[in-house]
């Protein structure tokens, strides 16, 4: 078992890194540990948990920004924002359930460092788009900052973008500032029932191209829809294609009506989810809890939206034991595969990544037994020039590699 170090403030964090640097001890940085099973298994004997560096530093609702210590639980921040009718626009997924842990355990910094975003990604951007600034410790044990507390800021390189998705391999952050947005008054969802994958993605792309400001566009094939906790979805007995509109009441009603009219000729049947059930439905989509059983391998694939069904079809030519959920208008595929022997698991990564060769995109093996994650490249391999550049970027923050690689 790795030793977990839990510094209580920025200076303790800096001293921890200094010790590791001097003694040549590799560290694995984590927020609150909710995604410890995300990515390849860590080879480090020392974990630095940021859980004790927590608390809100500054929250001014009318400035639309919040600054918090890195380990602050996401759940607490979301509750605080909700009190002022605000939210994080990128809808950070809670992978607790699918990674075999509890729900609601993550930190904000952890969500940022994985750059994960939920269904609203297509309308409002990813975690990286809302990450305005930070303070942290680099691999030279120096505390530094970048960005700021302003939404508009181009002073110096945008290192927040680089931190988002870096999985703690460049620096250990102790404070982060993110942009927030007003929460919508109403959240309604139009359900198109009974479309096959291709028709569904075509409908979603048409909805995204409409002037109706759609903020969620997902497709659940029949098996997944049947597992939904929302009766109206589960009882349709067929595939469900969902289109979300949010905003002030009169606008939401008008846009929903227009979308209904747009799809009346093609959809076999239509239903609506209103605010409460709508929120619950998009949480299911966001956290990918309906895809596959807990023992299955789970891939998360990003591709051009219109290519979604073709990517899935290409994978199915090699593997039939798959279940899929489409989000982001077809551009985000959650795909499960039944676990097999090592040879089958290795072949799966070739099948999944091979399907992206032509259209472009990337695939992450989100859930798999540790042994599989140790063997199969969990993250998309990069072409040589890009890999070399990434290595140099890593070294510019962490010359001795104490924060590990992913």
């Amino acid at each position: 078992m790795a030793t977990v170090l839990r510094p209580r403030d920025a200076e303790e964090l800096r001293r921890t890194v200094e010790w590791a640097l001097n003694d040549g001890v590799p560290l694995a940085i984590e927020g609150r540990g909710s995604k410890r099973n995300y990515g390849p298994p860590s080879r480090s004997d020392h974990v630095v948990s940021l859980a004790a560096i927590e608390g809100v530093v500054e929250y001014q609702p009318e400035e639309l920004v919040i600054a918090v210590k890195a380990g602050t639980p996401l759940r607490e921040i979301e509750a605080l924002l909700a009190q002022r009718r605000q939210m994080l626009a990128f809808e950070p997924p809670d992978l607790g359930a699918i990674l075999g842990g509890a729900k609601g355990e993550g930190s904000l910094a952890g969500a940022l460092m994985c750059n994960l975003a939920g269904p609203r990604r297509i309308a409002a951007g990813a975690a990286r788009d809302h990450f305005l600034g930070f303070q942290g410790v680099n691999g030279r044990a120096e505390r530094f900052k970048a960005g700021g507390r302003m939404v508009k800021n181009v002073t110096g390189y945008d290192l927040s973008k680089l931190m988002a998705g870096s999985l703690g391999t460049l620096a250990a952050l102790d404070e982060v500032t993110v942009k927030i947005v007003p929460a919508p008054e109403r959240v309604h969802t139009l359900l198109l029932v009974g479309l096959d994958d291709e028709a569904a993605i075509a409908a979603l792309c048409a909805a995204m191209g409409s002037p109706h400001e759609v903020s969620g566009a997902a497709h659940l094939p029949a098996t997944l829809a049947g597992r939904s906790g929302i009766d109206l979805v589960a009882q349709q007995g067929g595939a469900v294609t969902a289109i979300r509109v949010e905003g002030v009441a009169p606008s939401v009603e008008a846009r929903l009506k227009a979308l209904r009219a747009q799809f009346a000729p093609t959809a076999p049947a239509m239903e609506e989810l209103h605010t409460m059930r709508s929120r619950q439905f998009w949480e299911e989509v966001r956290d990918a809890t309906l895809v596959g059983d807990p023992a299955s391998l789970l891939w998360r694939i990003s591709c051009p939206p219109t290519e979604g069904p073709a990517v899935v079809a290409a994978i199915r030519q090699r593997r039939l034991d798959t279940e899929v959920q489409y989000d982001w208008s077809g551009g985000l595929i959650w795909l499960s595969l039944a676990p097999g022997d090592p040879a089958t698991d290795d072949a799966a990564h070739v099948a999944v990544r091979g399907a992206l060769m032509e259209c472009g995109g990337h695939a992450t093996l989100v859930r798999a037994p540790e042994a599989v994650r140790a063997r199969v490249p969990v993250f998309q391999p990069r072409p040589p020039a890009l890999a070399a550049l990434s290595r140099r970027v890593k070294e510019s923050f962490d010359p001795k590699g104490i924060f590990g690689t992913r």
């Binding site: 508009k152 973008k161 905003g247 550049l389």
Partner: protein
Amino acid sequence: MHMPPLDPGILARRAEIVSALRAIVPGEGVIADDVGMKPYECDALSAYRQMPLVVVLPETVEQVSRILRYCQDHGVKVVPRGAGTSLSGGSMPVGDAILLGMSKFNRILEIDLPNRCARVQPGVTNLGISAAVEDDGFYYAPDPSSQIACSIGGNVAENSGGVHCLKYGLTTNNLLGIEMVLMNGEVVRLGGKHLDSEGYDLMGVMTGSEGLLGVVTEVTVRLLRKPATARAVLLGFPTEAGAADCVASVIAAGIIPGGMEMMDRDAVQCAEAYVGAGYPLDAEALLIVELDGPPVEVDHLIERVVAIARDKGASTVRVSTSEQERLLFWAGRKAAFPAVGQISPDYMCLDGSVPRRRLTEVLARMRELSRQHRLRVVNVFHAGDGNLHPLILFDANDADELRRAEEFGADILRLCVEVGGVLTGEHGVGIEKRDLMGVQFTQIDLDQQMRLKCAFDPDHLLNPGKVFPQLRRCAELGRLVVHHGKVPFPDIPRF
């Protein structure tokens, strides 16, 4: 403005460098005579001018790659340039550097409406992208006021914003992919038609890197469907505080307008005299609030904005009732810079950002500074996101006025940082704010940024003299002294 000393060795080898470039880019693509190079001697920060070593205008990615490779091998500096509209000196030439103009990369390569994106070359103008998809009801959202002229490659390098970025984001939030050439000639593609990056978000760090990390040779932008409708409200206030309060209250009410602009009394007077937009001349501050989206939503929100404005003491409230009237409201705002140009021989446009709640205080202190430096200042700004554009009026032919204008500008930017804001919201650091970087960042912060530059450009050949007050050598920056075993295991809670 102090620039690094010219390298006599490079100047002496000019003829050789020119002929090497001619071997890569044939014909008129290499410009080496003074008359031909003259149009490139400055960008839109025109108080500073400098002739480049030579101008080269490549047409293919392969040529860009060979040029950079040659420059890397021979230690020649390179200044990338788009349309030359930078307001911070970002594309101002350097005397011992070649100027790499991207104007011939002017083709739209692909428009893919089902995937809502367009793949374009970096020399295409910002407005050119929107124009190409307009008939299909789409547009590219970031809209710098220079959009007729500025290039998308320049927008990426500066992470440009515009009036509508409060709701739709800056360049960085509207990109899907780029192709770029590194100083060693390697071509790297980042992103594509899919969302988010695999590995480090290098596209994110390239955006706003001011031409210091690589040369962008292709851009994939996100397209949006045009909003069904847009309407604007013109609001006059008897005090600046009232206007600033109105801005904060609109946002606190959960409304994010498409644009929310503020002009101070002097800006209103100038603009009105220049275009006659019907602005209230008795107002101390003017707000233009634009709502866009479905018609019912726009009508609903306009009512709410008007109610807030009245509550905050607005003395003028006018809602546009036609597209013509909406454009008229904007005409004064859009012409504010040239209007100011009518009343002063020169003006310097600044670009700090401040927290919205400090707006009134910042404006008052700016007036105080104006008295101290004996120069007038006029304020036009993106109030919604606290991005100020103070215009300092001066006469560049008067050396003392130029010096005072520079000092006044620096004081305003220091003030922005002091109240929790930043040196630049959208125009970039360039040479203009270079020497103020230390006001916002510590040496450790700056060293980390320079180390990142080393990962892309180890010899500091790309756009030298910009952004960093003092570029330290990569070998020196990379040095690390490790005290093996000297620091005891820290007293940190363990589990």
